[in-house]
Amino acid sequence: MEFFLQLLVNGICVGLLYGISAMGFVMIFKASSVLNFAHGELLALGAFFFLSLVTWGKLPIAASFILTLVGCFILGFLIEKFFLRPLIGEKLIFVIMLTVGLAAMFKGLILLIWGGNLHTYPEFLPESLELNLGAIYVAPVYSASLVIGVIFLVLFGLFFKKSSQGIFMRSVADNQKAALSLGVNVRRVFALSWAIAAMVACMSGIVLGIINGVNVHDLSAIGLKVFPVVILGGLDSIGGAIIAGIIIGLLETFTGGYLSPSLRDVVPYIVLVFILMVKPYGLFGLVEIERV
């Protein structure tokens, strides 16, 4: 029973991280219908920026965190401007392959600068975040990620529901032509969604880095694990991404704990195929109405 509960807690924590990582991905897809294969590399870039600022730059944690977020915001903006904008209206495969190419570029760049080894952050999380619920132990990073995840969810909820810019972004995702006719600056919305998504991605990269250490290969693998998560949640639902992330996280830890550790990494994809066959638009996705 204790083993079960420990797995449950671990699964939820890992899953929450998947969910947060998937949030940025969903945001890009929602605004511009781009499937971002470079998401894992964005996570890694964020984690490494932070690493450099903390260990090489010797900046305080809070300052590095904010600087990283700002840096990734700008990076996302630039990616959209230079790479994605010329492809607006192009065929799906070109957009997909462009992000695949970007992924290779970023990965090469990261390996070139930081190498492929495992790096770790200095300890900075306060011990008070540690949770001991009877026999179950929750490491400080996990509770920290829980807190950060909830904060970001609420912030994004408010942004998309209340602020004008958020409503404009949703309107573009909804009906691009109508948004154009009302004078919404669609290009700015695309750029902004990439910028925000990159910011979210780098934040989740940092959290993942705190837990597992910073390593390009691991982080880009998580970028691919985002796919089962977003498909399960529905490609265009941010809340769905969080819930689906938790489901996938639980599945993984339970498979790893009870069945076999090697099956752990494939299980999400098996689930993915199953969902695609049964309910292609995910648990929470909007059903696409297609007309000839």
Binding site: L35, I93, L98, A104, K107, L109, V266, Y269
Partner: protein
């Protein structure tokens, strides 16, 4: 810089036969004949084993790329599982050859057929899914196949790998780069011939119709699910065939190379070569292989320069970076690939100086 574009002038076609013709002029036919004669008559006897090795790799990958082009470029179904199909073919051939002692001239086509069946299974979601959903499904297929190859140890011997016997026909053993050159390139010519011709048939036209508008195609009476599965089957047959050739050529295989990276490389070949263009796939395979070799060469040189290695820089990632950059640049600058550049060049010569 003025963007190069194709001048659609000088098109005097008057009937369907001319539209379907592979060669516009007798000159093109002669050129191809001369090229093949040089390829088979001169290249294997003049080139060093290393250059022959590169040529052979190009030949094998080109077969796989042609298959993927049928799926992506002609039928419009994006597959991220082609690397895994390639691996399935390699393993199928290896297992048939080692466990059942099947001779290579049977095991290679059989490997293709087995892969075609796997491809059809992976292609089943295409009945319900379109576009990016299908892409993600094939991505899942890639991971699942990879997992099976590694974990089904009783059959694939897992990470240990399998060593294949040398292919033997009557008393003649195919071994060495030169012998394999003939073998591989004859296969390439045959598969290219088949692909070019299937695209001129009813099946090819159905594929193109599905790519351009699957709903309209369905409305015209094309059973799209059947044709999509067929496209998956043909495409994975090519991949499995190429994989089997590769397994024989490499002698021993492990699961390692058949990862997502290989799938991405195959798609890169199709895009860089030119989507919906069979010779383009060969050009793309050539480009990617040469790029890989060139980068390996440059990396090798830089590694030997004392200063850089001493700086602790690992240059290997540069390959990955340049590879990504090549894809990005092609998509941004010439999304129709090398084949389109070639077409523009040719039409400029043909129409010079009076094109409009």
């Amino acid at each position: 810089m003025k963007k190069l574009s194709f001048h659609p002038c000088g098109n005097y076609r008057e009937n369907y036969a001319q539209e379907l013709a592979i060669f516009d002029t007798w000159f093109g036919r002669v050129c191809l004949g001369v090229f093949l004669a040089v390829l088979f008559g001169v290249a294997p006897f003049m080139l060093s084993p290393y250059l022959l090795y590169i040529l052979n790799t190009i030949g094998i990958l080109a077969i796989g790329a042609i298959g993927l082009n049928i799926l992506i470029g002609y039928t419009g179904q994006i597959s991220l599982g082609h690397g895994a199909f390639f691996g399935v073919g390699a393993y199928a051939a290896a297992i048939l050859a080692t466990r059942l002692d099947v001779p290579f001239y049977l095991s290679i086509p059989a490997a293709g057929a087995i892969t075609a069946m796997v491809g059809m299974v992976i292609g089943i979601p295409s009945g319900r899914l379109k576009g990016l959903y299908l892409t993600i499904a094939t991505l899942a297929g890639q991971f699942i196949i990879e997992y099976v190859l590694i974990q089904w140890e009783s059959l694939t011997r897992g990470t240990m790998g399998i060593t294949l016997p040398a292919p033997k026909i009557f008393n003649w053993t195919i071994a060495g780069d030169q012998a394999f050159f003939f073998f591989i390139f004859i296969c390439l010519v045959l598969t290219t011939w088949f692909a070019v011709n299937i695209m001129r048939s009813k099946y090819g036209r159905a594929f193109i119709a599905i790519r351009d508008n699957d709903r309209a195609a369905e409305g015209m009476g094309i059973p799209i699910f059947k044709y999509k599965i067929l496209a998956f089957a043909i495409s994975s047959f090519y991949a499995g065939f190429a994989g089997a050739l590769w397994a024989y050529y490499m002698v021993s295989i492990t699961t390692e190379p058949f990862n997502l990276g290989l799938s991405v490389e195959f798609i890169a070949m199709v895009i860089i070569g030119g989507m919906g263009n069979i010779p383009g796939a060969i050009l793309g395979a050539t480009f990617i292989t040469l790029l890989n070799e060139a980068l390996r060469f440059v990396t090798g040189i830089l590694m030997n320069v004392g200063m850089i290695t001493s700086m602790g820089l690992n240059i290997a990632p540069l390959r990955e970076f340049v590879f990504g950059l090549a894809i990005v640049l092609f998509i941004l600058l010439e999304p129709k690939g090398i084949a389109e550049l070639w077409r523009i060049l040719r039409s400029n010569f043909r129409l010079w100086p009076f094109s409009y």
